[in-house]
Symmetry: C2
Subunit: 202 residues, 2 copies
DNA sequence: CTATTAACGGTACTATGGTTCCGTTAAGAG
DNA sequence: CTCTTAACGGAACCATAGTACCGTTAATAG
């Protein structure tokens, strides 16, 4: 060490934030339209009206950009319902997930970010954090059910919430079976039934 | 039409089949090692000891090659167990899926083919066919349970089998939660419990 | 067996995703 | 306000995935 390092001040204000917002929005659009393997950083730059050098400098890879997009996505949360019964709450959650996974923009976007997560550990980490946030948001409805005596004490709330989403994601990503209201309601009912029977106690 | 078309005879014997086998094996290896976005057809050709021109000519795209790989994968089936009870059979199935999804070669391979399926309709179709085959293979265990009176008549066998796999795939692809025996057994128990309660009747 | 041609494989080429260079803009400190 | 420099943007550049060409090998018909 020869000299005191001058603090490399960062400049997140104004322009930097504006660029990030525009690029992430453009990335989401591009992913929704073209899918994961169709993501071209130059195209994202064009959509965001930003130099492609900027995109490469700040995010370097497609998966890096998607990881950042996931971080941003984790921030805007979905409001939890409170219908007064576990089954009602879980059905509300299932319908919400269904709406996302059948939305013409969201469905391909989710498929794309999940594909990206299979290709890069950092993106996978961001995806896991995203779901951890979403699951934590809905876990309280199971805690309430436990207080009401609907499910046995010691029920793993997160596991119940995951059980609702799982069949819908399985259809979206693996089996390709239709994603409809019947599937959502069945997922919610199955999770509620299993939870009441004590399947998810720790 | 000016002249009679001479029948463009195909030559599936010997060499052609050998090349396909070598290339598909190499593709599986490459996918397992490098993931979907790391798949390079020239690299596959090298591994298969085949000219890269051949690979491009016969499969043209990475997703096309993966679609063919999935078709081959659908052919070798997993034997179904018969333990005498629905829960036992479903647990056997869950353990089998778990073994696949935690295998050091199979897990990344499955992640990769699923990622590929999100990027191309033909690959998605092949993936759906793959799961349709697997699910049909195990559906009889629900039919047997119905005969034994374990589940109500009119239970959707395929839906029960899907319900077993779904939580495991959700962990593999979305939430990132650990894939262990506890998760597999819980998935089987939850599906059996819901099925007995009549959640999956049509 | 021979003749025909489907299918393979090496080499040279092209096109596009990604990098480097360097001048310009504007955030933030004083 | 002025000054410093983090961050941006255009253009030229490079590396590599994918294509085109053409001669060679071997499957199958007769």
């Amino acid at each position: 060490m020869t000299a005191a390092e001058p603090p490399p001040t960062t400049r997140p204000g104004g322009r930097t934030a504006r660029v990030r917002e525009a690029v992430l929005r453009a990335a989401g659009d591009a992913l929704a339209e073209r899918g994961f393997d169709g993501l071209d950083l130059a195209d994202v730059a064009r959509r965001a009206e930003v130099g492609k050098t900027t995109v490469y400098r700040r995010w370097s890879t497609t998966t890096g950009l998607i990881a950042d997009l996931l971080t941003a996505m984790a921030e805007d949360s979905l409001p939890r319902s409170d219908t007064g019964s576990l089954e009602g709450d879980l059905r509300a959650n299932a319908r919400l997930v269904l709406r996302t996974l059948s939305d013409p923009r969201q469905a391909p976007l989710f498929r794309a970010v999940i594909a990206a997560a299979t290709c890069d550990p950092r993106t996978a980490e961001a995806l896991h954090a995203f779901y951890a946030t979403r699951i934590a948001e809905w876990a309280p409805c199971v805690a309430l059910a436990e207080k009401r005596g609907e499910v046995p004490p010691g029920t793993d709330a997160a596991e119940v919430v995951r059980a609702v989403s799982a069949p819908l994601y399985y259809r979206l990503l693996a089996s390709g079976d239709p994603l409809d209201a019947a599937a959502a309601d069945r997922a919610a009912l199955a999770a509620a039934t299993a939870a009441r029977a004590g399947v998810y106690t720790v």
